[in-house]
């Protein structure tokens, strides 16, 4: 059975570095290289940046050798769901979807209820990479 780490944090951006540290520590436990770790940290950072600064967010990380699957939510469906689908033409031009496509191996909406969603991110590393 894969190891699981769960975390709940305020969406307030001041906790961003704390979340980064924890994600870094988790990535280290499954032997991610610096770049893969940085990619996962960036994915979560950008996702939370889109989620606003009010309320709290839960994160669970399922760990296996060379693989981390994160579930992050609940997040407001409005805005986030669109940003996840929109790979072209969102206001930023460099959309959340484009960023995630680059830095994680797969992502999507894990579940949706009452205007809130949980987002799934998966990051893999090849052996020795």
């Amino acid at each position: 059975m894969a190891d699981r780490v769960a975390l709940e944090a305020p969406l307030d951006g001041t906790f961003g570095p704390v979340v980064r540290l924890i994600v870094g520590g988790i990535a280290e436990r499954v032997d991610f290289g610096f770049e893969a770790m940085d990619d996962l940290q960036l994915a979560i950072e950008r996702l939370l940046a889109e989620a606003g600064s009010d309320g709290r967010v839960s994160m669970t990380f399922d760990l296996a050798p060379g693989r981390i699957e994160a579930r992050i939510g609940p997040l407001r469906e409005a805005g986030i769901a669109g940003a996840l689908r929109d790979s072209d033409g969102a206001p930023s031009g460099l959309t959340l979807s484009q960023i995630l496509e680059t830095v994680v191996d797969s992502f999507g909406i894990d579940s949706a209820t009452d205007g809130e969603i949980i987002v799934r991110l998966e990051k893999l590393v090849a052996a020795g990479a």
């Binding site: 540290l21 280290e28 610096f34 960036l42 950008r46 930023s92």
Partner: protein, 253 residues
């Protein structure tokens, strides 16, 4: 022997004057670039004086290079002084201002600052040696410390109020950013997409940072390759990507 040395110095000075003339009177930007290349050793030498204060040497060198560019741009041909002499206070002033204005935003233990400063070169060295991006554990072994300290030291980079050396489209006093003139101009995002609403956000980034984002998210290049292309460390590229995305996001809000 002394005459030969004197002659070489005079010849170098004459070449420098000609390059300054070409740049200031004829707008020859390649002359400016040559002046920059000739004086980078001076910048490096001055930057080294400020090493060990918690910032990577390469960051300090780049700040110093901004001072050099400003000195080249402000140099008046009537001045009877070498560019090196004229540039030195500009370079030092730029570095001091950087430390004063853009230094550590929060108090970071000196040991972590120093670890952070050593991290960049260690990551690049290990990437080259191991043939893959080193894990935190591998970095820790190389630095003789623990994984937790490595993670904390990596996070120390976030303690800067501003990491970008050229994040603003305009420098102080409304001057154009000297770094805009260096490197390849690449407007891939704007060119390839009809993303009009992004213009203000992308416009807040310097060309080099736009290019780094383009390489990462359009070409899909890994940080290591981007670092090689732009001549920065992988850690610096990572920080510029994060910083740029944050700046763009903030701009849109």
């Amino acid at each position: 022997m002394r005459d030969a040395k004197h002659e070489a110095k005079a010849r170098t000075r004459a070449e420098e004057r000609e390059l300054l003339r070409l740049y200031h009177e004829e707008g020859d930007t390649s002359a400016r670039e040559q002046l920059v290349q000739r004086h980078l050793p001076l910048v490096r030498s001055l930057a080294r004086r400020y090493a060990g204060r918690g910032e990577p040497l390469e960051d300090i060198e780049q700040v110093g290079a901004i001072g050099l560019l400003k000195a080249i741009d402000r140099f008046e041909l009537e001045r009877d002084v070498s560019l090196g002499t004229y540039a030195t206070p500009n370079v030092v002033g730029e570095i001091k201002r950087h430390f004063r204005d853009k230094g550590w935003a929060i108090r970071v233990p000196r040991a972590l600052q120093e670890l952070n400063a050593r991290m960049s070169i260690t990551i690049d060295r290990l990437t080259s040696k191991l043939g893959h991006s080193p894990s935190v554990g591998e970095i820790a072994v190389a630095l003789g410390t623990t994984s937790e300290e490595v993670l904390e030291a990596l996070e120390v980079g976030s303690a800067y109020t501003t990491l970008s050396l050229s994040a603003s489209p305009a420098g102080e006093e409304g001057e154009s950013d000297p770094l805009d003139a260096i490197g390849e101009e690449d407007l891939g995002f704007e060119r390839s997409e009809d993303r009009v609403s992004l213009a203000p956000a992308l416009g807040t980034l310097a060309p080099r940072e736009r290019e780094i984002l383009r390489m990462r998210f359009e070409e899909g290049l890994p940080q290591t390759q981007i670092a090689e292309r732009v001549g920065l460390s992988q850690m610096h590229v990572s920080r510029l990507i994060r910083k740029s995305l944050t700046v763009m996001r903030d701009e849109l809000q």
